[in-house]
Structures are given as structure tokens and as C-alpha cells.
């Protein structure tokens, strides 16, 4: 049985990275990380200011959860960010299955990397563009930032107008592959 009715015995967690690398942890609350066949202890310390450190194999790592949504975590370790999705054995299988069957999406969305004001669009709808080609100018922190295309394709849709204010992650432009 994959599931027991009480979640308390469900203690196997599979942490997946953005690149679908997986790390398995059995009962993480027991504070061990497995290396090869050996279980090496993890120590967690919180200093006076409240910074949290993990000590493993005599090395100290500063850890911080910077964002969390359901089972998706963005973790900073020594200031470097990692996107981790924590899966159960079943949801991991599901994820693998869905990734395998994922049809190449035809449309790529260009998101706003930061909140700001749109100064100018450098492309028009239906225009053919190359990868890395500048699409628009977004002003944030008094800097004009050039947003470039991540793929080659045709501009499908432009969702904003110059002078519009956009939020982080707003879909600015849709590019058809």
C-alpha cells in the first residue's frame, strides 16, 4: 500500500530540483542525510540573531526559506537560491509521468523579471525573432532593462502597452515557436 491512512507514518520525502535531480530523505525529522550507505547526522543551530545554520560533515551552511507555495520551496543556501519541490513517492511518479508526456508547448511566455514600467516595445505582433533578440525595454530601479527573447519564433501576442506598469512574473509577450 502506498498510502497509509495516517500521514504520520508517511515519512519518505523526495526533493526534486529544477533540473529534475532527486534527493530522497527517509524521516528527515530524525536529522540524518545518507551518503552512500552511511547515515551522517545533521545538526541545526539557530544563532542569537535567529540565523539558521545546518552543519553536515563539519561544514556550516546558512539556510533560509525565501519563498514557499504548497510543496514548492525556494531555499537560499549561503545566499544561492534553489527551487525544490517536495514530493511523496506517488506525486514523484506522477511528476515523472507528466514530464515524460509533456508535449512541447508551442507558445513560450516572456515574463517580467521584476516589477517596473514598460518604456517601449521593440517588436510587433507577428514579427519573426531570433533567440536573444531584445523585445522590450522595462524600467526598474531607474535602469532601463532590455528584455530579450529566450527562444526563436514568431511574436504571437503583446499583452501590454508602453507606459504600463507591470508586476513581477506578468506575461509580457507570447512567442510562438
Amino acid at each position: 500500500m502506498i498510502f497509509s491512512k495516517s500521514k504520520k507514518s508517511k515519512q519518505k520525502f523526495i526533493a526534486c530540483t529544477e533540473n529534475n535531480k532527486k534527493y530522497e530523505f527517509n524521516k528527515p525529522k530524525e536529522l540524518f542525510i545518507k551518503q552512500g550507505k552511511e547515515n551522517l547526522p545533521v545538526e541545526i543551530i539557530t544563532d542569537k540573531q535567529g540565523f539558521v545554520f545546518i552543519i553536515w560533515k563539519k561544514k556550516k551552511y546558512l539556510v533560509d526559506i525565501i519563498d514557499k507555495n504548497q510543496n514548492q520551496y525556494e531555499i537560499l543556501v549561503n545566499g544561492v537560491s534553489y527551487y525544490i519541490s517536495v514530493e511523496s513517492p506517488f506525486s514523484y511518479k506522477r511528476r515523472k509521468y507528466l514530464n515524460k508526456n509533456k508535449k512541447e508547448s508551442k507558445v513560450e511566455q516572456i515574463h517580467a523579471p521584476m516589477p517596473g514600467k514598460i518604456i517601449e516595445f521593440l517588436v510587433e505582433e507577428n514579427q519573426i525573432i531570433k533567440e536573444g533578440e531584445p523585445l522590450l525595454i522595462l524600467e526598474a530601479m531607474k535602469m532601463q532593462n532590455e528584455i530579450t527573447s529566450t527562444i526563436q519564433g514568431k511574436i504571437n501576442k503583446i499583452n501590454f502597452h508602453p507606459d504600463d506598469t507591470v508586476m513581477k512574473d506578468d506575461i509580457l509577450i507570447e512567442v510562438e515557436k
Binding site: 500521514k7 525529522k29 525565501i66 531555499i75 549561503n78 544561492v80 537560491s81
Partner: protein, 502 residues
């Protein structure tokens, strides 16, 4: 001599704090400006008096509101104003207005600011004083056609720059003719936004150059010295990220030669106060004058560390017409200093600004390091200001030791709540080419495979931390006791009324 008794610091962040420190040392009273964008900013804690600019909201940012600043200086009977860097630091109109109103402007004369601030005039000045220059448009570009013709003559790549620009704004490199029209338009628009001036000039773009700049001090009596160089080759999109003094690329002979050129430029513009002459240095040891910054620079601390001088103090002393009593031969560069800029930027997504609140900050103060910060616990990082939070400056007897000390200090510098350039700085300082001193302004683009430093097991630690937290969260949910019975307890009043109404 005019003795300065009080200073209005017309700036914010770390530089406002830095200025206040020197002023305090000299027994000068400091006034700070409180703005509506950050009414509880950290720098205000360092001011003796605070002038409140939050009452009237205005379209002009507070630190650019000349009329209001002048009015306040008079209202509070303040002697002098220090503009820091950015904002009004290189505004000749403001400097002139100060003179008209009998306020001491801590900086050069309006005439010097104007001449050196306009790159076209500055280049003519350099040319007439035999300071080597890059080929370029010798004046502003007339139109796209002119730009195209000229670029063809000089040869691609060329660089477009805003005539009144600086700090990487209104600047674009053009690799080929097809791009020039578009790039010119982008650069002009940006220049208009930031400097209210669309005029652009063009010059030859040198590949793999080093950015070397010389710190100048000049008094009212024609005494001019240089305090050696700073190398600021580690830049991204013309924004400096790591600076050091001295530079491994210079020997005494070249240093003397470049220093002399720097002094010549200053002389030609009748310069006084602290200033910085920027050069490009190519692989053959040829150098070209770029521009002169007529203000205190962000990276001034590295010079202070190797010369033992307090540059802000000297700015104030010169402004009160003291004589510069240091001779060029007295200036000795001892040891090595490196500055890492700690910006609120997400290095992993292309250095995009990262907004948020600094929940916690911790740094280890040591004998060999200095931490100039404008933020503290609880400070907000908003889109209203540039992204620099702090500067970590470390010293060592040798370059190697300075690098090691920087790495040690970076490891002990902890910031929670936002993403910063700390992992980037570590990656640079750990890079074998950087360690050898083999760097250029295209170091980040060409030599760095990964822009942030990672320990071997970091990803696994992140995975573990996520799994552990998820485990704890699920258990808490599982153990939560929902008291449904309590929802059934009602007063007779309520239960009766509720029943009747249905």
C-alpha cells in the same frame, strides 16, 4: 579660510552615513533629509538633525529638488552641503546656486563640473593637454546617418554614450551596422529619462580593456596630487561590482605616467576637491582617457585603505579652503584593498533587482575589513533607489591576502530576506584568473562559467531543508485539533433567533 560648522548631507544610504562619520570626527554638525520614500531609513539615525521633506509630495525626487534643498539650508542656517555621489553631485547649476546663495558646495567649481561633465568638452580638454584618447565622434552625433558613417570610419565595434551620462546609463555597444539605429534610439531614450539630455557621442570600443582610475586631490591654491589607482575591471553592463587598489597591471613607471595624465586633466579644468580620472588600459599598456568624475566615488574606500587618508575629510578641508599639505612623494600605496559591492540583485536571474525586506543582517567586523552599509535589520529594499546595499572592503599586505580576507569576511556576512550579490563576489574571488590578476572589463562575460559560488553539497542541503520543513508542516496539520463541538455551543438568544428566522 572658511570654517564649516554644519553640513547638509543631500544624499541617502551608505554614503550619507559615510559623510556623517567624517563630519562627526571634525566636530561638524550634520543635517539629513527625511524623504517620503523611506521615512524610517537607517542613515537618518546618524544625523544630528533631520529635515523633514515628507510633508509636501513633489514630482521631483527629494535629493534633486534644488529649490527645496537651498531653502532648507538657509532656513536652518547651515554652512555647507555635501551631495555624496549621484543626485546633485555633478550638477553645475546646483553648485552655482550654492555660490550665489553663499553656501559652501563640497565639490569642484560649477565650471569644472560643467566642462568635465560634458564628455565632448572633456575630451577636447584632454586632447589639448596631450592625454591619449580613443577615436570617436569628437562632438555629439547629429543623426543616425552620421552615426553610421562615423562607425564605418572608426570600425565596429563602437560604443554609444550619453553626452551627460555616467554609471552605464545611456550607453550601448554596437557590434554591427544593422543594430546601430535601434541601439541609438534605446540609448537616447534612456539618456533623456535619466539626464534629460538626448545628445550622444560615439567612440571606438576596445575589447578586453582594464578599467583603471586615478584618485585626485586638488586644493584652491593649485596643489594637485594623485592617490594612486583603482582597478574596477569587474563590471557588468558598465556597473562596477568589485574594485581594488592598487592594480596588478601597473608598475611604478606606468603609474607615474598615468598619474601625470590624470593631474594634467585636473589642471586643465582648474579642478579642486576630490575627483577621479578614468582610463581604459589595453593589453599593450596603452591607456586612453575616458572621463573624469567630479565627485567622491562609491569605491573611494579602497584608496583610503592603502593610503591611510580620509577622502571625505579632505573634501571638507579643501572646501573650507585649507591647503593640501601632502606632497606627491609622500603618497605611498601600502598593501592591497578590495571592495565588494553587496547589491540587492538576483544573480541567478541575470542580476535583476530583488525587492524585499532585510530581515536580518550580520557581518563580522575585523581589523582588516570595513563594512559601509546603508541598511540594517528591517530596512526595505524598494524599486525607488538603486540596488546597492553595502560595500565590504578588505585589506591585506598582498593581493593574495586581501583576496583571502575578503572571502573570509564574505563567508561571515549573512543577510536574510533578500537575494544579494554575495555569491557572485565569492565566485569572482575564487576564480583562478582573478587570483592571477588576469582580468578585463569583459571578465564576467568571457571568463566566468558560473556567476555564483556554490559549495559541493549545497543543493542537497537545500533539498534536505525543504523536505524537513515540509515534513514538519504536514505533521503540524495532521496533529491540529479542530474543535467542531465549540461551533455548536450557542446562547439561547442566538439559537432561538436563528431557528426562528429559517
Amino acid at each position: 579660510m572658511k570654517k564649516i560648522k554644519s553640513i547638509l548631507i543631500a544624499n541617502r544610504g551608505e554614503i550619507a552615513i559615510r559623510i556623517s562619520e567624517s563630519a562627526k570626527k571634525m566636530g561638524i554638525k550634520t543635517f539629513g533629509i527625511k524623504t517620503s520614500k523611506e521615512p524610517s531609513a537607517y542613515y537618518l539615525q546618524f544625523m544630528d538633525e533631520i529635515i523633514d521633506f515628507t510633508e509636501i509630495t513633489n514630482d521631483i525626487p527629494e535629493f534633486l529638488d534644488i529649490d527645496r534643498i537651498i531653502y532648507s539650508i538657509k532656513e536652518f542656517n547651515i554652512n555647507a552641503v555635501h551631495p555624496g555621489y549621484g543626485y546633485l553631485a555633478e550638477n553645475p547649476y546646483f553648485a552655482q546656486k550654492c555660490i550665489d546663495e553663499k553656501i559652501i558646495f563640497i565639490g569642484p567649481s560649477p565650471d569644472s563640473i560643467y566642462k568635465l561633465g560634458n564628455k565632448t568638452i572633456a575630451k577636447q580638454l584632454a586632447k589639448s593637454h596631450k592625454v591619449p584618447l580613443l577615436e570617436g565622434s569628437e562632438g555629439n552625433l547629429r543623426d543616425t546617418k552620421h552615426a553610421k558613417q562615423l562607425a564605418k570610419k572608426i570600425g565596429y565595434p563602437v560604443i554609444l554614450k550619453a553626452a551627460s551620462g555616467g554609471g552605464g546609463r545611456g550607453m550601448r555597444i554596437v557590434e554591427k551596422e544593422e543594430d546601430i539605429e535601434k541601439m541609438l534610439r534605446i540609448a537616447q531614450n534612456e539618456a533623456e529619462k535619466v539626464f534629460a539630455d538626448r545628445s550622444m557621442f560615439m567612440e571606438k570600443y576596445v575589447r578586453n580593456p582594464r578599467h583603471i582610475e586615478f584618485q585626485i586631490l586638488a586644493d584652491h591654491y593649485g596643489n594637485i596630487i594623485h592617490l594612486g589607482e583603482r582597478e574596477c575591471s569587474i563590471q557588468r553592463k558598465h556597473q562596477k561590482l568589485i574594485e581594488e587598489s592598487p592594480s596588478i597591471a601597473l608598475n611604478d613607471e606606468l603609474r607615474a605616467k598615468m598619474g601625470e595624465s590624470a593631474i594634467n586633466i585636473a589642471k586643465a579644468s582648474k579642478y579642486r576637491n576630490a575627483g577621479t580620472v578614468e582610463f581604459l588600459l589595453d593589453e599593450l599598456g596603452d591607456f586612453y582617457f575616458m572621463e573624469m568624475n567630479t565627485r567622491i566615488q562609491v569605491e573611494h574606500p579602497v584608496t583610503e585603505m592603502v593610503t591611510g587618508l580620509d577622502l571625505v575629510e579632505w573634501q571638507i578641508r579643501i572646501a573650507q579652503e585649507e591647503k593640501l599639505d601632502i606632497k606627491q612623494e609622500d603618497v605611498k600605496l601600502t598593501g592591497w584593498a578590495i571592495e565588494c559591492r553587496i547589491n540587492a540583485e538576483d544573480v541567478q536571474s541575470g542580476f535583476t533587482p530583488y525587492l524585499g525586506t532585510i530581515e536580518k543582517i550580520n557581518f563580522a567586523k575585523g581589523k582588516n575589513n570595513r563594512f559601509d552599509t546603508g541598511v540594517t535589520e528591517g530596512s526595505n529594499v524598494t524599486g525607488s533607489f538603486d540596488s546597492m546595499l553595502a560595500k565590504l572592503i578588505c585589506y591585506g599586505d598582498t593581493r593574495e591576502k586581501a583576496i583571502n580576507n575578503s572571502l573570509l569576511a564574505l563567508n561571515k556576512l549573512q543577510i536574510q530576506g533578500i537575494k544579494t550579490t554575495i555569491p557572485f563576489c565569492k565566485a569572482v574571488l575564487n576564480h583562478p584568473k582573478f587570483k592571477k590578476g588576469d582580468i578585463s572589463t569583459s571578465f564576467i562575460l568571457k571568463d566566468m562559467k558560473q556567476l555564483y559560488y556554490q559549495e559541493q553539497d549545497e543543493e542537497m542541503i537545500a533539498a534536505f531543508w525543504a523536505a524537513l520543513n515540509h515534513n514538519v508542516e504536514l505533521d503540524i496539520e495532521d496533529e491540529t485539533y479542530v474543535d467542531y463541538e465549540k461551533g455548536k455551543e450557542m446562547t439561547p438568544w442566538l439559537i432561538n433567533k436563528r431557528l426562528k428566522s429559517l
